[in-house]
Amino acid sequence: MVALKVSVQLEDFSAQEEEKCLLSDRRDIGALISFIGLCRDEEPPLSALELEHYPGMAEAEIAAVAKEASLRWPIFGATIIHRYGMIKPGAQIVLTLVAAAHREAAFASAQFIMDYLKTRAPFWKKRHFSDGTEGDWVAPKIEDDLALDRWLETKPPLP
């Protein structure tokens, strides 16, 4: 039984609380990876990033990516939390936790989850600037599409 937890939420999260929850009292976990994505400030200065999402589909897509990771690597569990709403520079946006017996599976699946989440989960970022103006929508990065290529070598991509 692989413990997969997905949450799409307005509130901030505590990586520590989630880690405790994922580890519970297991003594077979040798590697715990935590990835936290944060809101970076930019030039011109941001007052916030606004994260829009597609309720229902966002949860389903993240869950599908987590499930796929658990089929590709021997992991014990994964917790993925993605926030929406107005997020200030320095604040947390996304958390991916993976617990496994060995570090290779933990690293690979955490990176896989982040790569696929970036290009499959329906979230969109809009910049709001410190001078009060509403900025543009963040454009997707070409590197994010390229990042998927590394996973194609071993197995077919998600449908």
Binding site: Y54, H82, K118, T119, P122, F123, W124, K126, W137, D144
Partner: protein, 83 residues
């Protein structure tokens, strides 16, 4: 059928969602886009670069050729930038 729009697709169309009554000949996502574009300037602007717009049928990723016959909800949105 309900249509939902996100991010700058929503902004350009000026609506977050709407009910659509489609003529029978609109069978695929691509044909639905043609039909929407003919409805007005906002739609035309939203779909001006059609390859960059993504679609979902009942909250699952769809392609231009996907059939919409039994769809309850169809979504259009720009490439995703989460994470």
């Amino acid at each position: 059928m309900k249509a939902v729009y996100f991010a700058w697709v929503r902004e350009r169309i000026g609506l977050a969602e709407e009910e659509l009554s489609l003529p029978e000949e609109v069978k695929t996502v691509s044909e639905l886009v043609d039909w929407l574009v003919a409805r007005g300037e906002g739609y035309a602007l939203a779909f001006e670069n059609r390859q960059s717009i993504r679609a979902a049928i009942d909250k699952r990723h769809a392609s231009a050729h996907s059939l919409i016959a039994s769809a309850r909800e169809i979504a259009f949105f720009p490439p995703m930038t989460g994470g």
